[in-house]
Symmetry: none
Subunit: 200 residues, 4 copies
């Protein structure tokens, strides 16, 4: 009788944690050093000291490996101080994102992932679901609640608002036309909340 039952241990040799870590590490290193074009399955396998077949067993494409290594490397918490003002909360969020992309390897990783996502709907979806959406959701909630409290106008397009805060960061990361400089987060939040017109 087979039936291992709901709590039954899986049959056979268990998956090696060593392998998982080695692959993700190797992938992240290669991505940071030379981008997606350097992060070939062959290269990752060699660097990780792991067989190609093993990689293919656990990840369908190198895009998924890259995704996994990004999430493993990127420990970015979305903590919100409940007592902070809307303006402060949003600024802190954006500052953290800018710092992450500017000061750590995650910037390079995100660029490569964004590029890869254009050719792999799976990666695009995963990126949207596990990275963009949670961050946008927090911001959208803050904005919505502020609107409900009467702090913001009632007729705003919340999706568009969140884009006007986050998109500039990704845009600069991807096209490099301007730096992710220190004061950017504050400027984005300030200009959008207050508006560009003089207050009369």
């Amino acid at each position: 009788m087979v039936r291992p039952g709901p709590t039954g241990a899986p049959r056979g040799r268990p998956r090696s944690e060593r392998v998982r870590v080695a692959v993700l590490d190797a992938a992240a290193d290669l991505l940071v050093e030379g981008g997606m074009s350097a992060a070939t399955i062959e290269g990752i396998a060699a660097r990780a000291g792991v067989s190609k077949a093993t990689i293919y067993k656990w990840w369908p494409t190198r895009g998924h490996v890259a995704l996994d290594s990004f999430f493993t490397r990127t420990r970015d918490t979305i903590a919100v101080d409940p007592d902070a003002s809307l303006s402060d909360s949003l600024t802190v969020q954006l500052q953290a994102l800018c710092a992450l992309f500017r000061d750590t390897a995650s910037g390079r990783l995100m660029r490569e992932l964004a590029a890869f996502a254009q050719n792999d709907p799976d990666v695009r979806d995963a990126l949207e679901e596990h990275w963009l959406r949670p961050r946008r959701a927090v911001a959208m909630r803050l904005v919505t609640e502020a609107a409900e409290r009467g702090e913001l106008r009632a007729d705003i397009d919340v999706e568009a608002v969140v884009d006007q805060l986050f998109a500039p960061v990704y845009h600069r990361l991807l096209f490099g036309h301007a730096p992710l400089r220190e004061g950017l987060a504050a400027a984005l939040v300030g200009q959008l909340l207050t508006g560009l017109r003089p207050r009369n």
Copy 2:
């Protein structure tokens, strides 16, 4: 000795215009159909009825071919009505961009180019210089002049302002988290100029 002289035409068989057009057409078609991964040099050459060597002779990488075909296919004028208000001018600009990306093949082309640019600084620079910069420059001029006229606050970060207008469009194009819907342009301009807070 070569010396074609100042007015002298170049010796030898002149470059075939037919080839140039066929290559750019084939490249654009392939890009639209299957993205960068389908637009191989081999594929472009076959589809264009042109020799691989000829393509390499005129374009250093397929990124450059893609760039060229994008610019050839994309007829997007940046006309500005001098009598229009700042708000209208910006809205018209953004609406045109949204329509271009939403309704024509240029959206797909831009996505592929943006992706490719992450791995090819040449393409990134060319994209920045010949596409992003001119459009940003127009918007920056409009904003700066409005500020000088006193229509806008004096302490705004013009670069950031332009990003808050344009970046959301590219962000949605690349990540697909929200559509480039009709009213987006107006919302972006309206929210940013007026601010999110209630006026009174």
Copy 3:
């Protein structure tokens, strides 16, 4: 400590006869259906419902599995009628061999084994020792005794004689240039004993 003692049964779970049979059956079937290239260890294990490791435990290479399955499947007795003439005895032997190779799966198995043997000295030796040698030995004894009785010339090369009887069968099996037809055995024996020259 192992020590099963002189009459002692071996410790632990005894080897499963079911496994042995299943493996040899599966191997023979696969060999007949698709030759050595189809009879992979993986395939045999799958078909026999047996673990790969178990096969490796009992047979060093798949050549040995094939050998075993050949000997299991091939029930070919080398019975000699002591009253029969030399000519009849040899003819019967050869006819049996031809029939075995022509009418049963053993022909295909032998072809595959002969091929495999070229790359595996172990298999070659085993084939020689357990298959070729016993059959050759019988024939050599018959020929030698006939020579001693004066029925045959004294200066013959017995090894070569046996080759001239058996080799044609294997040659046709392996190269297929001519069929193992009914009268072949008689022709081989007749021509060799009598000689090709007219008896005048």
Copy 4:
């Protein structure tokens, strides 16, 4: 007008003779050193300093490469002295074959080819057509003509006769149960022509 005509020069870069020779040489070397299992396409490509794709372009399987290299390496003429006796002619033939297999690398090559042929009908056919058949044909003609001259009995099976001469050589080559010693050819021919029974 294009039409190069029947004698028209082929378009494009001409096939490199250097490559052809290097591949066949490398293949023959590897075959002799380690047999078919060592003569991988990968190995041949590396040793020949040639791309794998190039090999695949000109030879469908490594079996064909092996065949080609065998025929290139093996310069074995089937010359027949018209004034020699039947016995001498056949003996010379067989001696040459024994010497070829015993003293040159062709023996090893033939063994590997014979093995490979069991799993590749193409190779088997090619071997039969370009190697076995021409040699058998010569022997069959000699035997047939001798029969017509009345030197041999009229009722012999010529195919079987030729097998009784050649098969022992291949049999010993493949199974190694006895050496291809010097006097073998003479023994085979002598015993068969004269018969084994005492002449009296």
